[in-house]
Amino acid sequence: MSLSANPETSALELPELQLQELQRRFRASVLGEDDGPVLPLVAAARGPVAARIAVYRNTVQASLTEVLAVAFPVTRRVVGEQFFANLAGRFATETPPRLPQLSAYGGDFAAFIEREDVGRRLPYLADVARLEWARGEAYFAADAKPLDAARLAALSPAEMESTVFKWHPATRLTTSAFPIYRIWEVNQLDVADIPRVDMGLAQSVLVSRAGSRLVTRAVEPADAAFVRATAAGENLAEAASLALAVDAAFDLQRALGDHFINGTYQDWET
């Protein structure tokens, strides 16, 4: 089932398996591996045919790099445009999309960074990329009715403590040993002078959707423990206890107020 290298004999009737083989070879070429196997199958009316294949290759690779640049703007700013373009280009050829929706492309980028040299030189970078991916996921997540505080307040204390808060589909918690919120914050476009950052600070970042707004905020370790406990299905009393175990000064009232404002949780079914 291999194709003849001579187009005149290859082609009168390309059997279906051969269409698959052609597509395989074309893929290898477009992903930058090797033009050799596909060259005998294609032709240019004038000029070198390799330049024609390059149009497809460049479209695929340039658009994937652009998609990653848009999805990871802070990661890109941290390492610089040229370095990022190279990093993204290598990721794209090694890990091309599996879904024909480019909004879903880049979920493995943080893990890729971790495996690269840059992940060792800038050990916070992979977590910054995770935070950016969490924001993208939150942006496209399903809609849900936010938790109704009035409805919650109408419960008896006993009912309240046994209530399980369910994350809104857009809620994402990214926990890092590095100050990823601070890094994200100082790399926003409206921050001109990049300050030195205390890399010894560990931060958890909660991303949520409040109405049409995407909220990105640092949360204290105790609040992060609370949010994580609710994701694990702990009820309100247990989650609060876990948070208090992290920090005896945990202010549940204030934390819940922020969660209501920012849409961390969705309403529960009755």
């Binding site: 051969q18 597509q23 091309p96 942006y139 496209f140 589909p169 857009a170």
Partner: protein, 275 residues
């Protein structure tokens, strides 16, 4: 989602209909989908797909069909279209409209895939001719013949992209007028117009379908001749990169409209300065 068709310049939102790329709205929720809902409540929507890969030898991705079906049920599109190209092989998505050799075997594959898509969506789809940068010596028929036979065998319609015909004709040295004359008029359900960019010189000269410029004069001429032959069709100006002032885009739309109305001669782009 920024492309508008048809209507002359005037009140800003007075577009006849709106076309979106289906794959950009396959998310579960959020503001992007809400925006589409708002548009769909006001305008007829055309869902133009770029990721179904009708030319995949391995057949269509059933999960992708299901996601698209869900979107179409939500939006209720007036038109659904895709491309005569492939982008998926062995589960890898190459985000471009890759070319196909035009053989009997390819025709059988594409027919099967188009019929599967039409079954899944419960409706006719339009299939668009792509821009091509190379050809296959193994092809046994011309693209318009392939499209005509595809439409005849599957009942699909055609989305005729006249800029793509011009780009492919220039790159692959065939006659664009001859191509357009071979397209069965009754199958054409929509027309695309766009600008392209030119790269290289001499034997390296190549037209690239960048949707980044005004429609060129030869494409206006081909459009005018096509409309004269087949009658008016819903027509969209695609402009995706280096997006100009809205007035320029509206001017292009007005030029297209005057040709659709039979009021313009071959060289229409002067009308693009209106507004």
């Amino acid at each position: 989602m920024a492309s508008f068709a048809g209507d002359p310049p005037g009140a800003l939102p007075k577009a006849a209909w709106v076309e979106v790329h289906s794959e950009n709205f396959l998310c579960d929720g959020g503001v992007r989908l809400a925006m589409l809902d708002a548009v769909a409540a006001r305008y007829p929507v055309s869902c133009h797909g770029v990721g179904l890969s009708l030319g995949s030898a391995e057949g269509l991705d059933e999960q992708h069909l299901a996601r698209l079906s869900r979107l179409f049920n939500r939006v209720g599109p007036a038109l659904v279209s895709e491309h005569l190209s492939w982008s998926v092989t062995e589960g890898v998505y190459l985000n471009d409209l890759l070319p196909l050799p035009y053989t009997e075997a390819t025709l059988a594959t594409v027919c099967r895939n188009v019929m599967r898509a039409q079954d899944a969506f419960g409706r006719q789809i339009l299939v668009e001719n792509p821009s091509a940068y190379l050809s296959f010596p193994g092809s046994v028929m011309r693209e318009p013949e392939f499209l005509a036979r595809l439409a005849e065998r599957t009942g699909c319609g055609l989305l005729l992209d006249i800029n793509n015909v011009y780009v492919s004709a220039t790159n692959n040295a065939f006659d664009a007028e001859d191509y357009l004359d071979s397209i069965p008029a009754a199958a054409v359900g929509e027309i695309h117009l766009a600008g392209h960019s030119v790269t290289g010189e001499g034997i390296s000269r190549l037209l690239i379908d960048t949707h980044s410029a005004r429609v060129c004069d030869p494409v206006w001429a081909l459009f005018t001749a096509t409309i004269a032959r087949i009658g008016p069709r819903p027509t969209l100006i695609e402009w995706d990169l280096e997006i100009p002032e809205l007035s320029v885009l509206l001017g292009e739309a007005a030029a297209a409209q005057s040709i659709l109305d039979g009021k313009a001669q071959v060289n229409a782009p002067d009308a693009a300065h209106v507004a």
